[in-house]
Amino acid sequence: MAALLEVKDLKVSFFIHAGEVQAVRGVSFTLDKGESLAIVGESGCGKSVTAQTIMRLIPTPPGRIMDGSVNFAGQDLVNQPEKGMQRVRGKDISMIFQDPMTSLNPTMTVGNQIAEVVRLHQKVDAAQARERALEMLRLVGLPNPERCYSQYPHEFSGGMRQRAIIAMALSCEPKLLIADEPTTALDVTIQAQILELMKSMQSRLDTAIILITHDLGIVAGLCHRVLVMYAGRVVESGKVEDIYYRPQHPYTWGLLKSVPRLDAESKRRLVPILGQPPDLIKPPAGCAFAPRCNHAMRVCLEHEPPAFPVEDGHQASCWLLHPHTAGVGAAAGLEVIS
């Protein structure tokens, strides 16, 4: 079966006063129908730009897709004219943004905003669109959908707005839902509600999900596969169990060790990743993580590591996985897992 989405060697740059910011520097991955993939990494690692490029939402200028391809269900999205993209957005691919306060139109009722999406993409009349919008509001668990339909976004709480946005995003039953930090602005109790909702909607509609987040906790409960990004590149990818139980890249080790665990019995010092991410106007010649890496060797500073396969579907871009250094890497990895 062909993959639903195939991103190949994607490169995106932003041309600003100070120079060319290479935000995404060669990202490749595939996504199957109904699968959920997490893209994790810190601010500025290129995870949101990758998602926005799939939707062709990066502002041009200053942004430009320098290279690579995005193939979605047989269509090439990089070279798709804007008209064609408008048919894809909201119908085949939907997106949920971080801030539920700013992604709704404050001058339109919530119901009309959802009905507008339905009318745009489906051959239905106003009454049918209204029915569909009400059904979606009910489906995402908003109390009293009739009343919610005619309310304005400012009358909703943060959690209710995010539910309304999910209702809108799923109203045309898209094949792919991209959620860019969907719960970062919400409290934990509301976050739990929204994650449960996304999970149940996924199993009901068989939607593929790309979840973009910096929170390794929410990934563990929701996603099948994980891409770890750093400085515009994928440094490690694999099944969620691979990443959490058998991580191979020192950056992944760092991410896992720097967060405290609620279920930890004894107190241990957190292990921070020292230093700062690199400046992407002048990306380093070798591995971008090398200056912050405890295990960096000379080769890391000079040559970019290729992706080494670890096992089926699990790969990491780190020189520690080279056959010549395998012993070093295994020893360092053991220390992390214990």
Partner: protein, 325 residues
């Protein structure tokens, strides 16, 4: 609670805000942001304060320092009621009580250099002058892991984590004993959060500081705190030694809050039973009588509507405000 001297003792603290709604000035709804809260913090201890947004945790922190004038209650600092202090006395005691703010972008004046920002509290309290002042600023920068050569730079030249370090250096400038950390890490990236938390812990060990650590990240609060207080709609609903709270939460709200925290472990995450609370927290404007949590509580009974539960001691310093425990 740690043995030793009680540094901060809060008794029946209330902070209400009068809301004026449009043109109708006759009815003034009252927002009870902090409503009858009592607790104490021992010297050298870290008390964590958790709760959802709008529960009053930041207001509580600010009222402790009299950045907001309290509606009622007392705060004793080393046995002295600071709410009875006049302006001059208050300014002197603020040398001992400092605050670190959440947003490292908004809490530093963009027109001041780092050296001016850190030097300002030194000038206000008249602590050091001339070359000593410069030396002290450099010492503070080194203390928080920044390069003293950066003293002449402006805040915009620093990253979020570095700015938070500047905010911490400013708080430390006057050699405080007690620091309120109001969500000091929630605006930072995960790898940077660990740097700041480790630094706060080291500073506490080296300088003997006492913290009130306000946050909504429950895993981080558990990590840093000796004891934790859970707040809901202006009230403390549970207060306990930190590991005890996470192992045996008694209040239904604490249980739901803890079960909602995602765990970075796929097998644990799959096997875990979550308590999903219905709806949002109700408005703290003219809150309902009885237990404030009852509308969202899966176990609410008739008594919860009639009587407001008070904090009761369940042994070992574990306090909870619930009729059903």
């Amino acid at each position: 609670m740690k043995q030793g001297e009680v540094l901060v003792d809060v008794r029946n603290l209330k902070k209400y805000f009068n809301m004026s709604m449009g043109f109708v000035k006759r009815q003034r709804p009252v927002l009870k942001a902090v409503d009858d809260v009592s607790f104490s913090i021992a010297r050298g201890e870290t008390l964590g304060l958790v709760g959802e947004s709008g529960c009053g945790k930041t207001t509580l922190g600010r009222t402790l320092l009299r950045l907001y004038e309290p509606t009622a209650g007392k705060v004793f600092y080393r046995g002295q009621n600071i709410f009875a202090y006049n302006r001059g006395e208050m300014q002197r005691i603020r040398r001992k009580m400092q605050i670190i703010f959440q947003d490292p972008y908004a809490s530093l004046n963009p027109r001041m250099t780092v050296s001016d920002i850190i030097g300002e509290p030194l000038d206000i309290h008249g602590l050091v002058r001339g070359d000593d002042r410069k030396e002290r600023i450099h010492e503070l920068l080194r203390l928080v892991g920044l390069n003293p050569e950066h003293a002449a730079r402006f805040p915009h030249e620093f990253s979020g984590g570095q700015r938070q370090r500047i905010g911490i250096a400013r708080a430390l400038a006057v050699e405080p004993e007690f620091i309120i950390c109001d969500e000091p890490i929630s605006a930072l990236d995960v790898s940077i959060q660990a740097q700041i938390v480790n630094m706060l812990e080291e500073l506490q060990d080296n300088l003997g500081l006492t913290y009130l650590f306000i946050a909504h990240d429950l895993a981080m609060v558990k990590h840093i705190s000796d004891r934790v207080a859970v707040m809901y709609m202006g009230k403390i609903v549970e207060l306990s030694e930190s590991r005890e709270l996470y192992r045996h939460p008694l209040h239904p709200y604490s249980q739901a809050l803890l079960s909602a925290v995602p765990v970075p472990d796929p097998q644990v995450a799959k096997g875990r039973q979550r308590i999903i609370l219905e709806g949002d927290a109700p408005s703290p404007i003219d809150p309902p009588g009885g237990c404030r949590f009852r509308a969202r509580c899966p176990r609410a009974k008739a008594v919860c509507q009639e009587q407001e539960p008070t904090l009761r001691n369940m042994g070992g310093g574990h306090q909870v405000a619930c009729h059903l425990v």
